[in-house]
């Protein structure tokens, strides 16, 4: 703790303990606790409490209050817990009997303030903080505190209940791992006292007739097995395994969902997944007995496991695919069985009945689809997924949802009636469809798949959210289609599909709904990014109306759409006027026109998004070498700098600096400084000429004025970026150790200006203020001056200053203490008023 803070602390404690003062802002108290936590975390010594007696005095005075406010009492409990986190400080507080009075049975526990959830929460958190040494453990177990925690597991406040559960897990692990004296033995394990109390509580709760008690114990076990992978957990498990197994078949116990979670967490633990302890038999039984809704998370969790018997995996997959199997069967003719599974694990009737009920059909399907998407996102899947059938089932679901399929079977017609226009199911199915595109093996259906996708793209009933997902799936499958047509040479089908897609895209680009126009543009950009090298794609796109409509959207009233249009137009340029060979059908695209339009947006658009999009596109163009010859590029960059340097949006200015950075490195590379040159430059003269050429280019492009001014930008990231660039430039122009001594500059002709610049920058970066009037004699376009500036200005100092967090004052403990002290006596109304 700094001296300043130590001086402020007594006053703060006194203010907090004063019941006449209005309660301090909760965030202040939280931040104060953060500070104490950071001070005690790595320092077990007693000095904090000894050197600052105001802390114990504060606790004493709060305990002496007849009616402390719940928030300050809760704060005190948590503070005391943090202070007592080391044995030394614990003993110190114990000597004054503070901990007994705070956490013992006669403390807040037995007063009316206990009814306030924040006090209970403070009590649990306080205990948790101190629970890092044995005296604390004994203090709690001997003083009856552990029963309080057991009771708090069922607290009406979710926060308190879950903290209590976490605390018990922590205590159990801590007790076993710190108090066990004998070496571990599975047969004859001697539980320490505290652990024994907790285990007894778990066993009793599991046998209880109260569902909530069972639930609490299952939660506790789940969290224990997920956080502790020691071998003793198995001994604990063996004692309760039978009881838990019985829950699977006992329908009176409503804990199946929890059970699935428990088993899953056990399966992740190396203790259980490797042992013969019967975990897999239990998992198998769970897969059979749990309802389709309960079993989903377990099944998908099993499939994510690295270590798991293959038969259990297959069983889990079967369970997961059951609803999809049912969908396929429901859609097929009675005699033509076209399911997805050869056999099922549990009764298919259960799935059928859930799917034919209005209240459960959509939720079961959404859950299954989400699990399938999760499965498809795995890099290594250790079972074979029947991709083709899965795709067929997805298409069936999508067709049920848009009313394109109404099968004759009673189940099929029921499901299709329920699913029609169900956007939740549509969204989920499209997500899976997109994920499936990356898996090979379902190519035979690709033609009919596009029929389904196009129907969605065309339908006026498709909601904007569903349309966006359809676009995402379509773009992924178009890439797949292209790969396929490359290998099979089925270009006709591809061309037909592309033509249809662009036809519908044309319509969507004119939608009255901005969300649709925006998603359409994003879709177009993705397509160009992925397929711009393909002739058929380029031809289809350029022969459609899409490019023209896209350009029109640069004037859209919605700024989001304008920004997306900028990005799309920028990418279109890669296949039109920036293409190595200008396509015949693309010759109507006028490069100058488009660039002028984008430049106009950059300097005139009233909103940030389109301007940001333009600057980022320009940088992309520059990176890809599309801006033409050196001189053209120089002019281009110069124009861009002029447009962005006074932009109100700091992210646009930052984008401008990014462009400058790319330009600098490209120029230096092209003009061949020693660093980039393939031939080592031996002569200092050659090097100096090269340097001068780059420097001249940079000066002509007005780059230095932008960079130096940016150092004083009122938004930190801009200054930091500018400093980084200047730093890099100096590295290029001045090989290590050759930078000038600032003493020398005064003697040079440009020296006065540069000295002024250095002073200004030093103050400016702090005051965030570069004089608006100009450079006071500094010529930012003069190579010599700029070379001098680079060499003399203390960029390291600026760099360090700028890289300091801009809110370090805001975050400092001293500022916090000052703020709390300053708030004493201010009008209460300021506190309550919100936004």
């Amino acid at each position: 703790m700094t001296r300043e803070c130590a001086l402020l602390l007594p006053g703060v404690c006194a203010a907090l303990a004063d019941p006449r003062q209005p309660g301090s802002d909760d965030t202040c108290l939280e931040k104060l606790l953060d500070w104490f936590r950071s001070m005690t975390e790595f320092d077990p010594s007693v000095s904090l409490v000894q050197d600052n007696p105001c802390l114990t005095e504060f606790i004493t005075s709060i305990l002496a209050l007849p009616e402390p406010s719940p928030s300050i009492l809760s704060f005190t409990l948590r503070l005391a817990g943090i202070l007592a986190s080391s044995e030394n400080r614990f003993q110190h507080l114990q000597q004054e009997k503070l901990l007994v009075r705070l956490f013992g049975v006669d403390g807040p526990l037995s007063s009316t303030v206990w009814e306030d959830a924040s006090v209970r929460s403070g009590w649990v958190e306080g205990v948790h903080s101190m629970m890092h040494h044995q005296p604390a453990l004994h203090f709690l177990c001997n003083g009856g505190g552990i029963d309080v925690i057991f009771a708090l597991q069922g607290d009406p406040s979710l926060f308190v209940a879950s903290s209590a559960s976490r605390l018990l897990v922590h205590m159990l692990i801590f007790s076993v791992e710190s108090e066990t004296t004998k070496p571990f033995s599975a047969k004859d394990f001697d539980w320490p006292v505290c652990a024994r109390m907790i285990i007894k509580h778990i066993e009793d709760s599991l046998q209880s007739s109260s569902a909530s008690h069972v639930e609490q114990s299952l939660k506790l076990l789940t969290s224990l097995f997920s956080s502790c992978h020691s071998r003793w957990t198995e001994v604990l498990w063996l004692g309760i395994a039978k009881q838990i197994e019985s829950f699977l078949t006992d329908e009176t116990v409503q804990a199946q969902r929890m059970l699935a979670n428990l088993l899953l967490n056990m399966a992740w633990s190396p203790v259980f997944c490797d042992s013969e302890g019967g975990l897999w038999a239990l998992v198998t039984s769970a897969l059979e007995h749990l309802t389709p809704v309960q079993v989903g998370p377990l099944a998908v969790g099993i499939l994510r496991l690295y270590k798991c018997p293959q038969d259990v995996r297959i069983q889990a997959l079967t369970v997961l695919l059951q609803p999809m199997d049912c969908i396929l069967r429901a859609a097929s003719q009675p005699l033509e069985y076209a399911g997805l599974l050869d056999e099922s694990v549990s009764d298919p009737a259960a799935v059928e009945s859930l799917l034919s009920s209005k209240s459960s059909c959509a939720s079961l399907l959404c859950q299954t689809l989400a699990h399938l998407e999760e499965l498809l996102s795995l890099v290594y899947l250790r079972v074979d997924l029947p991709y083709t059938s899965l795709l067929r089932s997805l298409m069936t679901i999508l067709q049920f949802c848009n009313g394109f399929l109404s099968p004759a079977s009673p189940l099929g017609s029921t499901i299709s009636r329920i699913l029609i226009n169900c956007f939740r199911v549509q969204s989920s199915a499209l997500d899976v469809l997109a994920a499936l595109s990356e898996r090979k093996g379902c190519d035979t259906l690709i033609g009919s798949l596009f029929d389904v996708l196009l129907a969605y793209l065309e339908s006026p009933n498709t909601t904007p959210t569903v349309l966006k997902k359809t676009f995402q799936a379509t773009s992924k499958w178009l890439v797949r289609l292209h790969e396929l047509s490359c290998s099979t040479s089925q270009w006709q089908q591809t061309e037909k599909i592309l033509a249809d897609v662009f036809l519908v895209l044309q319509k969507r680009l004119c939608s009255p709904c901005w969300e649709v126009r925006d998603s359409s543009l994003e879709f177009l950009t993705v397509l160009i990014k992925c397929l711009r090298d393909q002739d058929e794609f380029r031809q289809s796109l350029l022969s459609s109306e899409v490019p023209r409509l896209t350009e029109n959207l640069l004037e859209d009233p919605e700024s989001y759409v304008r920004a997306s249009a900028v990005t799309a137009v920028g990418h279109l340029a890669f296949i039109t006027f920036f293409a190595p060979e200008l396509p015949v059908i693309g010759n109507q695209y006028n490069k100058e026109n488009t660039i002028a339009k984008l430049q106009e947006i950059l300097s005139k658009d009233p909103e940030g998004f389109p301007r940001r999009a333009v600057i980022s596109m320009f940088t992309k163009w520059l990176r890809q070498g599309c801006t033409g010859r050196m001189e053209d590029t120089e002019r281009f960059v110069s124009r861009v700098i002029q447009a962005v340097e006074h932009d109100l949006d700091w992210e646009v200015r930052l984008g401008g600096l990014e462009l400058v950075e790319v330009f600098c490195s490209q120029t230096i590379c092209q003009l061949g400084l020693p660093r980039c040159s393939s031939v080592p430059v031996s002569s200092a003269v050659t090097s100096s000429i090269h340097q001068n050429r780059s420097l001249q280019v940079f000066c002509r492009a007005k780059l230095f004025s932008f960079l130096f001014r940016s150092l004083c930008d009122c938004d930190k990231p801009v200054g930091q970026r500018a400093c980084d660039i200047l730093f890099a430039l100096r590295g290029n122009f001045y090989p290590t150790g050759t930078a000038r001594d600032s003493q020398e500059t005064g003697e040079l002709p440009a020296g006065h200006g540069i000295a002024w610049l250095q002073r200004t920058l030093r103050q400016g970066s702090l005051a965030q203020n570069f004089p608006t009037g100009g450079g006071n004699g500094v010529d930012f376009e003069d190579p010599e001056s700029m070379m001098l500036a680079l060499g003399t200005i203390d960029l390291e100092e600026l760099h360090d200053e700028l890289n300091r967090s801009s809110d370090h004052v805001e975050k400092s403990p001293q500022s916090l203490l000052q703020d709390i002290l300053a708030t004493v006596g201010t009008i209460e109304e300021n506190e309550a008023d919100c936004y």
Binding site: C714, D819, A822, D833
Partner: protein, 600 residues
């Protein structure tokens, strides 16, 4: 018994960040998804892990509703939908949908401006989130799914703010969000119809305050600005891009016009244009006065307020500047503050709450020597004023809304515990309804007693009144009839009418019973003995002996057959209708006693 459960994850006994979970008739709805600006880490967002212990959020929640665009009500939305993974529907009004992203973007920019900020949403995430939003109109009933419907009501407070009614079947909850029961310079007063919800969840920021007249506060504000400008000082007003800024702009604009003042007023952010555009676009959401004068002159086309350029801050002479951000913690407003702070002629007016740590908070709490970056000390000599223009309902307003909506229960959120406690007692006393105030993480369960309206057919009513007394509203009356549930309505009609309406034929239900009696005689003789016995006992009833050998007593039919194995035992088959249940039972027990000897 049906129940409604409410669990605040935020705004339970605090004003930090609103996020309230409501469970009604099996549907789960999240009301608001706010952010706490006082934290720099994950604590700024509600802890969404408490929503569901198992399963996906999208499967659990049926929808999210956002009441208005303030960040303590919508600031966590992009985080929730794009980073936590909620992929379901989100509802808000049209103006909120339009303005919300501006504020989110504004805040994002300020946040990422600082170093080390991670785990914060990007611009793309804000856009993707807004694309998922379904915008609703006032008083439009929106069907979220087949059972769940929502409806927005005008809430005042800020442009587009709405109260929402959430209804499943005949159970309903109204969530007020933030509201204002008195019209202000550009917005009207909140209004709701007498919808009698099972539960009204109301904000209670000013639970114990009766706000002084808004006019006084406005006069004060104008006086201070005027005095400063008159003596040649500069006035800085740090604001967020939208909301209060517009109100203050209107105030100054009209004042400048009236007093013919010449000092320039600048608005430093490029966002104003867009903000004002939305105020013009959503003119129907403003108050009557603005709407009326709209044709002649748009209130939001300011004559005196001009765009600010960074260079203007150094100009000599008086001026008024609106600059973002509102808490003086970064960017333009802080830059101007640094320039002007040292001159006692100048003034800064803070029109809103500032979180701890910000320069705004420090100067409001009276600190005059501020440590800036690089250990520089900035001495604040300029005057510092606080001006609250918060548009919340005061205690009187809250009571007025309760009177309007007539809820069966009230639950208070978005306020301080002590003040809520006071208001809670007042509400319970005055309205005789239960009032709750759960803390964050605490669940309040309200048992509902859904009253289901049933229509009674005139025929049935006439018949019932013909046999009894005239209906009396105060006395419950027993009615017999058939309940028809059809086309979402319930009707009580006479059984005959029900059959006719539904095109059904009445089923005849007959009870049967076999009675064994010892009688060695022939069957027809046994029948005759039974006939005579019954005729003798049941003198008031019509007992008949039919030609086919059976006996009837009213609707009761008796037939006799000899026992297949024992000819000395006769089996009497007795059957009767439901209407003659009493007589049938009596007759069976009579026969079970056997036949008297004398009748032989």
């Amino acid at each position: 018994m049906p129940e409604i459960k409410v669990t605040p994850l935020g705004a339970g006994q605090d004003v930090g960040r609103s996020c309230i979970l409501v469970s009604i008739a099996g549907k789960n709805v999240m009301l608001d998804c706010g952010m706490h600006m006082g934290y720099n880490d994950d604590r700024r967002f509600p802890d969404f892990s408490y929503i569901t212990q198992n399963g996906r959020l999208t499967d659990f929640l049926d929808c999210v509703i956002i009441s208005h665009f303030h960040l303590d009500h919508c600031g966590a939305l992009p985080y929730f939908s794009e980073m936590v993974g909620y992929d379901g529907p989100i509802y808000m009004t049209h103006p909120t949908k339009a303005i919300c992203p501006i504020l989110l973007e504004d805040y994002r920019k300020i946040t990422v401006d600082k170093k080390g900020e991670t785990n914060f949403f990007t611009s793309q995430m804000i856009k993707d989130c807004m694309k998922k939003v379904v915008a609703v109109h006032l008083h439009q009933t929106v069907q979220v799914d087949e059972e769940l419907e929502i409806k927005a009501y005008y809430a005042g407070h800020v442009l587009g703010a709405a109260m929402f009614q959430i209804k499943v079947g005949c159970e309903s909850v109204v969530y007020t969000g933030d509201y204002n029961m008195t019209p202000d310079r550009h917005l009207g007063a909140a209004w709701i119809d007498k919808c009698r919800p099972d539960l009204l969840i109301s904000e209670s920021t000013y639970a114990t305050t009766i706000r002084d007249s808004k006019r006084c506060r406005e006069r004060d504000f104008l006086k201070k600005v005027h005095e400063t400008v008159e003596r040649g000082g500069k006035v800085l007003i740090p604001v967020f891009a939208l909301g209060r800024a517009q109100e203050l702009c209107i105030l100054l604009e009209t004042f400048w016009e009236r007093m013919n003042l010449k000092a320039p007023i600048y608005f430093s952010t490029g966002l104003t244009e867009k903000a004002n555009h939305y105020y013009k676009l959503f003119i129907t959401w403003t108050n009557q006065k603005i709407r009326k004068t709209f044709v002649q002159r748009n209130m939001f086309e300011f004559k005196h307020i001009k765009a600010f350029d960074r260079a203007f801050a150094d100009n000599p002479g008086p001026m008024v500047v609106f600059a973002t951000p509102g808490m003086l913690h970064a960017g333009q407003s802080l830059q101007i503050f640094r320039k002007w702070a040292g001159n006692e002629k100048n003034m800064v007016i803070m029109p809103g709450y500032c979180v701890q740590g910000t320069v705004g908070h420090k100067i409001l709490s009276g600190q005059r020597k501020l440590e800036m970056e690089g250990r520089q000390i900035l001495e604040v000599k300029m005057q510092v004023e606080y001006m609250s223009f918060s548009a919340h309902a005061d205690a009187k307003g809250i009571m007025q809304l309760i009177r309007q909506a007539e809820p069966r229960n009230v639950l208070l959120v978005h306020g301080e515990a002590k003040k809520m406690e006071f208001l809670k007692q007042k509400i319970e006393q005055e309205f005789h309804v239960n009032c709750y105030m759960p803390a964050n993480g605490e669940t309040t369960t309200i048992f509902t007693n859904p009253s289901i309206p049933v229509d009674i057919s005139l025929g049935l009513l006439k018949r019932e009144t013909a046999i009894g007394l005239l209906p009396d509203a105060k006395k419950p009356k027993l009615m017999h009839g058939t309940l028809i549930m059809k086309d979402n309505s319930f009707r009580l009609v006479s059984p005959e009418q029900a059959l006719k309406e539904l095109g059904l034929a009445e089923h005849q239900l007959r009870f049967t019973c076999r009675v064994h009696i010892q009688d060695p005689r022939k069957e027809h003789e046994t029948v005759l003995r039974v006939y005579n016995h019954l005729k003798g006992v049941l003198k008031d009833y019509s007992v008949q002996h039919l030609p086919d050998g059976s006996i009837t007593v009213e609707s009761i039919l008796i037939q006799a057959t000899a026992h297949s194995e024992d000819q000395g035992t006769k089996v009497l088959l007795v059957s009767w209708t439901y209407q003659d249940e009493e007589l049938g039972s009596y007759l069976t027990s009579l026969l079970k006693k056997g036949l008297p000897q004398s009748t032989a």
